[in-house]
Amino acid sequence: LPDTVVNGIEIYSTKINCKVTSRFAHNVVTTRAVNHADTAKEVFFDVELPKTAFITNFTITIDGVTYPGNVKEKEVAKKQYDKAVSQGKTAGLVKASGRKLEKFTVSVNVAAGSKVTFELTYEELLKRQKGKYEMYIKVQPKQLVNHFEIVADIYEPQGIKELDADVSFITNDLMDVLTTSFSGKKGQVSFKPTFDQQRSCPTCSTSLLNGDFIIRYDVNREQPGNVQIVNGYFVHFFAPQNLPVVPKNVVFVIDVSGSMSGQKMAQTKEALLHILNDVREDDFLNFILFSSDVSTWKENMVPATPENLRMAREFVRNFRVTGATNINDALLKGIEMINKARETGIVPERSTSIIIMLTDGEANTGESRVDKIQENVRNAIGGKFPLYNLGFGHDVNYNFLEKMALENHGLARRIYEDSDANLQMQGFYDEVANPLLTDVDLQYPQNTISDITQNNYQHFYDGSEIVVAGRVVDFETNSFVADVKGHGALNDLTFTEEVDLKEMEEALKEQEYIFGDYIERLWAYLTIEQLLEKRKNAQGEEKEKLTAQALDLSLKYHFVTPLTSMVVTKPEDNEDSEFIADKPGEEVKADQISHAYATQLNYQPPSNPYYFVDGD
């Protein structure tokens, strides 16, 4: 048999087709295979997709008959799944895989001589970080593929400023088949290796296509914002340039309990030393260390003078780990320190404050009730500045950290215990190190719009972007005005964007390049994402209301979110059985995030419905 056929199966083609319109990515992964064997064979289809993406569709087509996926409310799907599980014929489809990915795996038995086509569709809003949008594609075909291609078409109404593809497995031989081009509003990345170019060596029958395919781009920013309106929905992208950085007052609250000893503490120190090199001269800082007790580097916030930074480095090099974890007192101390610095005028009036806490465990001394800690912190901060929580390692109570950060206008990040943990910490600091605006409020004409997504932010950071979407309800008006107010380092700013609706309609007549109602789907995606986030902190009726709204949109727009599941009917042995595609949640512990999935071909479902642990 030729190289194209492995174990009787020929992969005729694998195509990854991405269409990005105004940061909203619509990706379709299609694989076509033929069973050349004399007997029925199992054919596998594995795709790793970003955790931030929502699956929207999956179909299996065997000999011309298509079996579609249906997105259902999780509970409804679960009943169907339980019934199937009891017959021993089902499998969950999506697992967490690594830090940023989820793995979608399915297999079907294909009769001798039959053809099968798998098609998975997922969508995501690409977020701007450090000045770039990034689209990540994991490439890992199981065998050589007759026709392999990745094609990404990007359409950005603001015009594309730069576009690059970073491919981890690229060789000189493959350089010719990777093309990147852009002009005006359109860009394309194409990668179409021939059959022979896929070989890991000239005589090998294994594929060298194994690794990361990352597309990075940015758009032109002649104006600080851009408003687009299509079919009754608007989106407003806001990212002003060339503003001076607002000085910041940072308190690092560091867990030095016993569990941080060894590699974790070494990496934490390395990251802090690196961060101290990047602290700006007009910033203020302090360190709070906590274990069973709480101690501070300096009594008050101190300016980042060269001498203070020298002493800070010495302090970081010398602190030691010991004892238990007293999160409550450490955070309250940090908040008190910032409040005092503000009240007594130690820090400049035009400055912003943040607390960055790093911990690897659970609160187990002092106040250890998480509800009470949350309440204390919430009351002490009073919405005045954000709290960022970095959760390090396997045993951290991440849900608690995330809730607490979210209700204090911050966010939580996992720091994965790995050789690059220091880089993960530094990376996070880089994202929040350069606030350009504080108290950013995006305003739209009241009677013209409805259902808008979050429109006020405590900070706008350099290299990021604020996105607000909503519905336009008044079509009588010809112009749409968006005002963005914020406090800068030196002055207060009001940016105004005015859009002529008729001109906009004309400009967006390049519809053949645009998939469907992209702004409507972008709005739905963003709304669901924000409802799910709000839901994490809500209780009782409020939580029910947020859940109902998010569920309604997930079903309406066919998104697999933590509230929905996709049921895929699988044709097998003349009898239908069912798959379930769920969205794994953050509470999946790190030790369950196994790289083993990446090569796990013969997946055996567990005997009980474990995969219905609620994803949120």
Partner: protein, 240 residues
């Protein structure tokens, strides 16, 4: 660049041109009491070797300084930069933005103009004049209008600033000039007797594309006799 001086008490206007080489910086306003200073750098045609009858010159860079507010504003047809306390914020003419800070207000109206108000009683409008990008000769330039100067001191000077205080002139002996539509006359101003010509210049505050005609008595020879001293007295070494 052409200068228009409105003289409300005479219900008329005076005009003059200043022709200097590109790169020269002229002082337009200087108030020794408040420290507010406005200077402008001259630009010429795109291709200096082109054979046009008369080389035109414009303001291509304007600088406004207020030392009391520790403020500097630099405006070019490409971008607008504010320095406050030595820290820089920059914008482009594609922005529509209002910047407010301790009595300062700067409003940029996308691709049209910007309004700078310093405290209460000093307001300038800077107009962006865009020309066709592929025009062989001309390039984008700026106009400066003082719309409120009542908080500036009586010591204010400069090519524009010297006219912020009331002054008198008299025009008589109107007679036919070389152009029948543009009569000549004799003007007495600042103790000088000048020959002036009736003409018109354009005010671009309201319509930066076409402008509005302003009829005025034109003072020849770089405003000689109308301005204090000679025009070269207003040359300063740098924008700030």
């Amino acid at each position: 660049p052409h200068f228009i001086i409105e003289v409300p008490q005479k219900d008329g206007a005076l005009c003059f041109n200043i022709d200097v080489q590109p790169g020269v910086v002229l002082n337009l306003i200087r108030d020794p009491d408040t420290g507010i200073t406005v200077n402008g750098e001259i630009i010429g045609e795109k291709d200096p070797s082109s054979e046009t009858k008369k080389k035109k010159s414009y303001f291509g860079r304007l600088g406004i300084v207020d030392p009391q507010m520790d403020l500097q504003i630099e405006v070019t047809p490409q971008k607008i930069t504010l320095w406050s306390g030595g820290r820089r914020t920059s914008f482009t003419w594609m922005d529509t933005v209002t910047i407010t800070q301790n009595g300062l207000s700067v409003t940029i109206n996308k691709k049209k103009n910007m309004v700078v108000s310093i405290g209460d009683g000093v307001t300038f409008v800077i107009v962006l004049h865009e020309v066709w990008k592929k025009h062989p000769i001309h390039q984008d330039f700026l106009g400066l209008y003082t719309v409120d100067s009542h908080r500036m001191s009586t010591k204010t000077h400069g090519l524009l600033g010297q006219f912020f205080h009331p002054f008198d002139f008299e025009v008589f002996d109107v007679r036919p000039g070389s152009d029948p539509k543009k009569p000549d006359a004799t003007m007495i101003v600042k103790n000088h007797k000048l020959i002036v010509t009736w003409g018109s210049q354009k005010d671009y505050r309201m319509d930066s594309g076409h402008g509005t005609k302003v009829s005025c008595w034109f003072v020849h020879d770089n405003g000689s006799g109308l301005i204090d001293g000679v025009h070269t007295d207003y040359i300063v070494p740098t924008l700030f």
